[in-house]
Subunit: 276 residues, 4 copies
């Protein structure tokens, strides 16, 4: 399956401001690209690409004081299979987890493991460890939290989600992540493209958030918001929580004025545009 990916984002910039974007496909998916994945910025500014502490491809630049347009359109090949389900995948005792996963057991800005630890144990401590427990967490979060874009709030933490029971996709994942970590299951936040491939609904497109849990020696996709295997996720970045993997971070004022994301199935690799 081929998926056409793209976005068009505009900001009004009142004064020159440094920005970091995570708008490139994750290094793990680069081999699947069938067209260049190149962030195009108007006006022309000097771009620096780098890889952050978590292994994500970042781009930094200084936006001048005018309208800023970030655009891209690319193509990726995808197996077209739904998120894998492995009901027999086991949790690792902490003592046997790989070193690099331990970070994903700790507190982070939006996942207050310390404050949710007793609650997690009471709700899920009795579940059979392993895949089923992570799934039980997703089921709980999915059934208890009410989705609504009007509930979007950048400072909402996992504890706020637990008490207020409303949110957008990132909020669902933050709560599920905090619960997993409290139970000693490494969990990390993921952001990327997720079209409506294979699903009836067509919500307004946005980048999407899901999470990954570490079981049976690998990271697995879970999604407490959609809570059903989906086709066509294209990973952009993983981190401890949304703070680490914001699509764009501006270190000063920048007003978002337009936002469009595309991720849809296409029948084959397009003829490259003339002159490229």
């Amino acid at each position: 399956m081929f998926i056409r990916l793209g976005y068009e984002i505009e900001f009004e910039i009142p004064a020159p401001v440094a920005m970091v974007s995570m708008l490139s496909v994750h290094p793990s998916r680069v081999p699947d690209l069938r067209a260049p994945d190149e962030l195009s910025i108007e006006p022309k500014v000097a771009l620096t690409n780098y890889t952050d502490h978590f292994g994500n491809r970042c781009t930094r630049f200084v936006a001048p004081a005018e309208t800023l347009r970030l655009r891209n359109a690319t193509l990726i090949e995808d197996p077209g299979t739904p998120d894998p389900v492995a009901p027999h995948a086991q949790e690792h005792p902490v003592g046997e987890l790989p070193n690099e996963t331990l970070l994903y057991l700790l507190n982070s800005r939006y996942c207050e493991v310390d404050r949710l630890s007793n609650i997690a144990t009471e709700l899920f401590g009795g579940c059979t460890p392993g895949w089923g427990r992570v799934q039980a967490i997703c089921d709980w979060v999915n059934s208890k939290v009410m989705f609504g874009y009007q509930h979007a709030r950048p400072t909402r933490t996992a504890l706020d989600v637990f008490t207020d029971r409303v949110g957008v996709c990132r909020d669902y994942q933050h709560l599920a992540i905090a619960f997993c970590r409290a139970l000693n299951i490494p969990a990390r936040y993921a952001t990327g493209y997720l079209g409506d491939i294979g699903v009836a609904l067509t919500p307004p497109m946005d980048f999407s958030a899901w999470f990954e849990a570490y079981l049976d020696d690998q990271w697995w996709v879970f999604d407490a918001r959609n809570n059903t295997p989906r086709i066509g996720r294209v990973l952009i970045a993983t981190g401890r929580d949304a703070s680490d993997v914001a699509i764009t971070t501006s270190f000063g004022a920048a007003t978002l004025t337009r936002f469009a994301v595309l991720a849809e199935e296409t029948t084959g690799p397009p003829v490259p545009p003339l002159g490229k």
Copy 2:
């Protein structure tokens, strides 16, 4: 100057539990060691050393269900000079900061930059950028927060410090770090040994926390708690906040029953103990 370093920590462990410790001198100070820096654990358990995402030396092991003793005694050579003061050190525009410092501008568990951003701007936005501004932050925090071990609370965040105005050394640093980041000055949490070398007071010894701010192409030590240059800091670890660099993290129940830390000047390298 030579500084004798050591600690003795005991836990009661009710059931086998995985632990991670950050009890080794930071790699940047290893060249200064004049005796082996080896964590000794009773009972004998298998230890694994590794370096975390932030460059700290960590040790992990599974503690059995009995009394656990972590001990060490080593010797380090130190210039014996106070923390450097560089009143002319400049802030970097974000666009010119090294890639690897950008992480230290973001939110973290105990440093809610998002919620303290306006406050930081109101309090310190008018200060001349650079060393003086970081020092103004330290002066403010130092004068406004009341120290007291009875105020220790593991879940207290920078915002809590800002409202409640009480805390222990970590709390002072968290608030100062959050203010720095809100003003686009990279700041990271540091933990290590800090004896009472050159100061009149002799508080009960503990590990200490301070922070580092990035100015003029390097990280500089600041300490909003003591707020005066000190002699003999020996760095153990740096991270985004206390969550990243806990001296010990136990992934299950462990009751601290004894805690002693030593960091004192000594006249010269000791005769190595027999048979070593």
Copy 3:
């Protein structure tokens, strides 16, 4: 001046639910009424009126499981003068405040005086006590907080307003109230009708919130949201904060489906409807 007042509110009620409404004009304004002020409810339910601890007229009833309509239309005479301004009004030393005002110095759900106390002192402790200080508080809140209905959030507290700097009218008042109380100025939350009489803008009508501060032996109207004297406020209720004076409180599920409020100048008392 005569002001026509009214509202029409609808709920969908999934199961019988007890409700309390504060939809009557405040006892202090009853003498000004020029038409009956009678809550009409469909379907017909038994109503009980009572006066709460704060002196407000409340109505309680049990709503059956169907569409619930609360309606009213009445007429009030109003001096048509703007909110009084008394720049020389003095604060009372706490020791000289009337007993019944002391309650309005304490913490309440959305006004965490305890956590905002130091901040209030730092920001306004140096202002000349009296009217000017309350006005300085209103000016500060008005200039720092950004209004937006999309920022409405029922659990937002004064501290949240202070950090997040967004909100709707109740949020402005909560922060101003908390600051006043922290400075030992009694302050209470007020809710009522506020039309756009004498102002150019015509925002979508809603009930409005303002607050009252106690100076010179009386309660004075302040409004940190509009922050300019207004004509035609018609008080419904006062209390410690929005928790005490919700327009409607339902003790179980009730979904608001329609909400319209009217408060507009009219030329004279209407001919009473036939048969009344």
Copy 4:
């Protein structure tokens, strides 16, 4: 049974400060007094007694800038029977609750009913309504929260207790009260004397907190901290939470330097001291 009651409280007052105390036995217990219940203050200051919105006897005065001593010793007759237990007491549907109890269903500073509502329903929504449900709440809180004076913190709310699981007696009651209210059971905070009459332990004496829940047309004592019927409670004040019924509230700086409370059984009414 006769109970000797008394206290001795000292403050250092740096500058004249207005204070309110709730140090008189509650009006409902005045008929049981067998000696005068008179707050004695050194130095002599003018005292004003008044009854607050909740029916409590309060005393206000302005303390001068010196050592302030509040003292009392009195005697009360008590039935000497344990707190009543009424396992068949019923909850009232909200629609049938007395008007004056409705206040005790609402949010208050330390009891965030809005944020704990879903949690309460999940934990206790399935319990049989009535006495048993309130008792189930007390059992839960009592078993989950760890007592410790070192955990005292004036700004801790019910939600903090729920997450942190530590506290002193007021914290236990706040969480239980919030749960009750979330389930539409009126609950109010109570403070008073509670000696160790009939119990083996002799903890350091302090005033104590408990709460009252409204069932079967009356308020009943519950105590999520001790969670067992006790003998000899002497009520001082009730309110929405600890904010309303602080033993002393000072509207400015006042440092507590001594605190002693007495409540112990005695064999009979004492001979009144000579000359009284």
